[in-house]
Amino acid sequence: MAVYSKVEQRRAPSNTKGILHWLRDNLFSTPLNVALTALGIAILFWVIPPFVKWAYTDANFAGSTREDCSGGGACWVFVRMKIDMFMYGFYPSAERWRINTVYGFFFIMMVLFKYLKSASLKILLAHVYFIVGYFLVSGGFFGLEHVPTDKWGGLMLTIVVAAVGIVAAFPLGVILALGRASHLPIIRSISVTYIEFIRGVPLITILFMSSIILPLFFPEGVTFDKLLRALIGIAMFEAAYIAENIRGGLQSIPKGQYEAADAIGLSYWQKMGLVILPQALKVAIPNLVGVSIALFQDTTLVMIIGLFDLLAMVRLSAADSYWLGYETEGYVFVTFIFWFFCYSMSNFSQKLEKRFNTNLR
């Protein structure tokens, strides 16, 4: 009878775990990978030290005048002095607390969302938030000074355009997607025509249409708010893309689900609202977030119709004759802000996916 003696616990061999192992497995496994790694490191060496030197070591942070930027590096003083313009545009400085309040409400709403269980309550809350936000920012009631939309600008306008664009486009997109999947020929052809027409045109064309061509069709003297024109254009544009993404979701739902819903006698809207859409939207989440991120970046296009979003505000500030020549600092700052927002959105979508990924597959 064999005698088994207890073998002392040993560490895993050094070549199967740890940093060294990871490096060997992932970076230096083949000659090609060694070469690519070397190339990658070379590029990093080539790019990062000069950037750090420019953005940090040689940069100027303190002071408030152009003369304070003496070093050869970045002049962050420019960004610091212009930060109010970047954030709020021409919004009167005495009224900027209103925008900050709306931002604050957003975080309160997010916290409430964590604890609220009822979906309809959440939707109600979101609606209330938008209405309160609009009245707070626009003003003109309860003694709040009215701030016309031509004073809106900077990051705040970027967020307004992106948020309104997504929120307004969503219901329209759902309707268009259902229309395209419908069996009624007229509705289907209207939806298909709309979607294909809009998707065949660049956003910039629609913005030009809304800002330059449209006013010529109105009787002389009739002017519409430029921001509203742009928002309608963007929402119409986004709706077509959202519709296509939702259609993708709809097509992934097995036929049995439709038949089961019909079998228990649900009407069309009950079937869609209770059975099909909840599943279809869940599938479409990654793509919908993708569209939202793309829209957030597309908002910079409103610059060409004379609305001053964050990027346009930076360009405008760089044209201040006192601060000429500091565009680069402004653009780096904008890059960071956009990265922050887009990365947050993409993170959020991953969380959503995990949370909703309960049953499928």
């Binding site: 003297g221 708010d225 060409i304 405008l316 044209a319 004759s321 006192y322 000429l324």
Partner: protein, 342 residues
């Protein structure tokens, strides 16, 4: 579904009408402006010295000063302006559609614009033209010495054609180095890809500030094209046209007569009949425009005369430091000449 889309359409239309009520445009811009309580003025917003926005969000510049002057003439308050930032493409549409009352956005006065677009140019507030910037080290003092030079410029503009014309008519050779944007042009010049940078003179001074060593470059005195920039109004409203025109002429006449922001109060007591008519102490000139007879007093107090405005926005008092050149008064070697207040 049909019902839904009808509802969507109806609500869109309602929203549009409710929140942004339409204003009808009459041929009487002055009374519209007075009813609104402000002048809607189209500017660029991103053009150093002409119309730019400071860190406090306030518009300034020589084009902006004209908007402020018209507001001062109409309301006695230069702050009653609503600025509409416009790009080059939409500026004329905005004026035609009534989105703005006047356009002061370094717009070149050309035959086509004046004759066929339903617009009128109410004078010239800046005589611009294409010029050259060179490095001081070259020792060039005049554009006539540029034979054989390599020239950086922005492609696809009239700049290119003007250079070709100028060098051909002076029988000189040159080499073109073209770029897409003004910033690239500047980089090319700075890195020594070319000896000369050419653009409109007003732009050259702005570009020069962006150089690492602005003092090492000079702008040559020659101007090789005509770019008269001025305020624009809609055709068919002569009263408003006259108001804008004579506000500008008033500022020029004030400079000629030596009336400034500082001495305008003292000048009210002067014996000089020209100044008396200008300031409305004598005669009813302002009333003929539909304004107060002393409409130029708030203009001069709050904006200043043409020279003061020029020096503060683009001249020695500004970072641009543009020389008066053609924009000096006619009796000081320039071509700025205003008809008399009489």
């Amino acid at each position: 579904m049909m019902l839904r889309s009808t509802i969507v359409k109806m609500s869109l239309a309602t929203v549009a009408v409710l929140s942004f009520g339409s204003t009808t445009l009459s041929a009487d811009t002055l009374s519209d402006v007075q009813k609104n309580g402000f002048v809607k003025c189209g500017v660029d917003g991103g053009l150093p010295g002409f119309s730019e926005v400071g860190s406090d969000g306030v518009y300034k510049g020589i084009d902006v000063d004209l908007c402020r002057a018209v507001a001062a003439a109409v309301f006695g308050d230069a702050k009653k302006v609503k600025y509409v930032a416009l790009n080059a493409k939409e500026r004329l549409t905005a004026l035609q559609s009534g989105e703005i009352d006047m356009l002061s956005r370094n717009t070149t006065w050309t035959f086509t614009r004046d004759a066929s677009l339903g617009l009128n140019f109410a004078g010239v507030n800046y005589y611009d033209g294409q010029g050259f910037m060179v490095n001081k080290k070259l020792g060039v003092k005049s554009a006539k010495e540029l034979d054989g030079a390599s020239i950086c410029l922005q492609t696809g503009t009239t700049t290119e054609l003007n250079v070709a014309d100028y060098f051909r008519s002076n029988k000189m050779k040159y080499k073109l180095v073209s770029y897409d944007t003004n910033d690239q042009v500047l980089k090319g010049y700075e890195t020594g890809r070319c000896d000369v940078l050419t653009s409109d003179q007003s732009q050259l001074y702005g570009l020069r500030i962006k150089l690492a060593k602005p003092d090492e470059s000079i702008v040559l005195p020659e101007v090789i094209s005509k770019e008269p920039l001025g305020p624009v109004v809609r055709q068919g409203d002569d009263k408003w046209f006259d108001i804008v025109k004579w506000t500008l002429y008033g500022m020029l006449n004030a400079e000629e007569a030596g009336v400034t922001t500082a001495n305008v109060d003292a000048m009210l007591k002067t014996d000089n009949p020209d100044i008396k008519r200008l300031l409305g102490v004598e005669g009813q000139l302002g009333e003929q425009l539909g304004l107060k007879k002393d409409f130029m007093v708030p203009v001069l107090k709050q904006v200043g005369n043409y020279g003061e405005s020029f020096e503060a926005t683009v001249g020695v008092g500004s970072p641009l430091k543009i020389a008066r050149g053609y924009n000096a008064l006619w009796n000081k070697g320039g071509i700025q000449y205003a008809p008399p207040f009489r």
